[in-house]
């Protein structure tokens, strides 16, 4: 796949051409037959993405695909643009000032930076789990019900059903079913993270984005979250930014290695971990730098 990406880069000279080439490129059989994309179609496709934050070039000509219904781990040293990449997926980045985004991000084939795109509907497609769990200042029940409510679900009965279903999905129901009315902050941090997952699932996304979602948690809580990801990957496309290589080894189906704002290598977990093609990837995996 990486050769393919490099091939695109060779074509590209100017931004206008970029758009053109991208479209053409998308119609070609893009991937090797043995790659993950023979069984999972790309859910998010990024083409020639450049992101500048306060004039710093954060993402440099990034092109990649995120497979559907699989766990994709984005790995790489701190400051390599992993989180920025994740935030371009649900357009959270545009709230930062002095940001310039060039290139295409296609979700289900639709360019999310297009003019007619409704930003809320893009965000609704993706549940976000941040590094530190951040419950909304309301009860456990209202946290889960918040998303459905703002999207128009008012019926008490339907809300009850949604809350129970999502809490069960996030493996939290048995722990909180007797205290749905208590403030969400009263939960332990591990429970809070599962609550945030349930809250995200309640808006019925197709993609789950995790920004180092387990790094603030204790080992047992992180294990629970990892197990949840493994359970949920049949229904959702999961994209995780992670610092923990061991975590990526445990749960990833597809791995993207980034360094200094560029994608160095992308491939199935087995390819990347057992047989990395790039020297840089190998050095990172061997712990020469982090």
């Amino acid at each position: 796949m990486i050769q393919n990406l490099l091939r695109v880069e060779k074509f590209v000279d100017s931004p206008i051409e970029t758009l053109h080439v991208t479209r053409e490129f998308r119609n070609q059989p893009t991937f090797d037959v043995d790659s993950i994309f023979s069984t999972h179609k790309p859910h998010i496709s990024v083409r020639n993405l450049n992101v500048y934050l306060t004039k710093n070039h954060i993402l440099k000509n990034v092109s990649l695909d995120i497979p559907d219904k699989a766990i994709t781990c984005i790995i790489g040293p701190s400051g390599c643009g992993k989180t920025t990449l994740l935030k371009t997926f649900n357009r959270l980045l545009q709230n930062s000032i002095d940001v310039k985004i060039e290139g295409d991000v296609l979700v289900d084939g639709e360019n999310i930076h297009g003019k007619d795109v409704e930003i809320e509907s893009i965000r609704k497609k993706m549940g976000l789990l941040s590094q530190r769990p951040c419950p909304l200042p309301m009860s456990i029940f209202d946290n889960i019900a918040y998303g459905p409510r703002i999207h128009g679900v008012r019926n008490k009965k339907s809300l009850n059903v949604i809350v129970e279903k999502r809490l069960k999905e996030a493996g939290l129901w048995d722990e909180v079913k007797d205290r749905l009315k208590s403030p969400a902050n009263s939960l332990s941090i591990g429970q809070q993270q599962r609550l945030c997952l349930a809250r995200g699932l309640a808006v019925e996304p197709a993609i789950i984005l995790g920004d180092e979602a387990t790094s603030a948690l204790d080992p047992i809580s992180s294990k629970k979250i990892e197990e949840l990801f493994l359970k949920l990957k049949d229904q959702y496309s999961i994209v995780l930014v992670t610092h923990t290589l061991r975590q990526a080894r445990r749960i990833a189906d597809y791995v993207i290695f980034m360094y200094l704002g560029e994608v160095v290598e992308a491939g199935t977990a087995s390819e990347i971990f057992s047989n990395p093609k790039e020297k840089l990837t190998k050095e990172y995996l061997d712990g020469y730098f982090s």
Binding site: N95, D98, S121, R132, P137, I150, P183, N185, G200
Partner: protein, 267 residues
Amino acid sequence: MMAATLIIVGSLFMIIATIIKRGLPAMSWDMISKIPGGGFYIGKEGGLLNAIVGSFYIVIGSISLGLLFSLPIVLYINLYLPEKSRLAQFTRLSFDVLFGIPSIVYGAFGFTIMVYLGLRSSLLAGILTVTILIIPILIRSIDEVVRRVPKEMKDAALSLGATQSETIRVILRQVAPGIITAILLSVGRGIGDAASVLFTAGYTDSIPTSLSQPVATLPLAIFFQLSSPIAEVQNRAYAAALILTLIVLILSLAGRYYSRKFSKNKI
């Protein structure tokens, strides 16, 4: 250190003791339920209801008006401007400076504008001046709590598909206890301030029925009666002080209670 503490705590008690000792004998039901009758200022019948009600009018008016300006300002500098924006920093600095300006300056400023516009001292002018006095307090204390809202909370609401205004509602809910504390703090400052209302609100024995009428306030009731040569009237000044102190005490206790209750529940 201990001596310093004792002196300060001791003088606080002495102030309260003086107010109670001199004010309590002059206190009566009439004092808080009647407006001044004829001859009130030479020690005859009547009460301070005009000043109590006037103070509340001024404070309620200026808090409402103050919030109307402070909340948008705080939300703007925190949510719309970038983190290290010069404008935000400059705004904060300006309000820090305004915070330190003595209230008599605000009073004089309000008076100058009134004269310029040809207005008489009135409830409206009083409310406006006190509003300018408390806006820096409101803004600085609400700003402190809004700044502490984690960025993730905004992202969390947005990523669920919330619009900007829905996100702001979530943030307001998070900072609600802080806003209540800020309000009580400004009420305490606004209700006790004499200098800002001295020229602007005037003084009257009746309760105003419109915004253009002058209005009495408790601090001015204290000020005027204390300057009377008649001992009974002077004692009434202490009674007014007692009422004012009680109001401020109740408000600050309520403020503490609410902020503790909220921080426990973290709503």
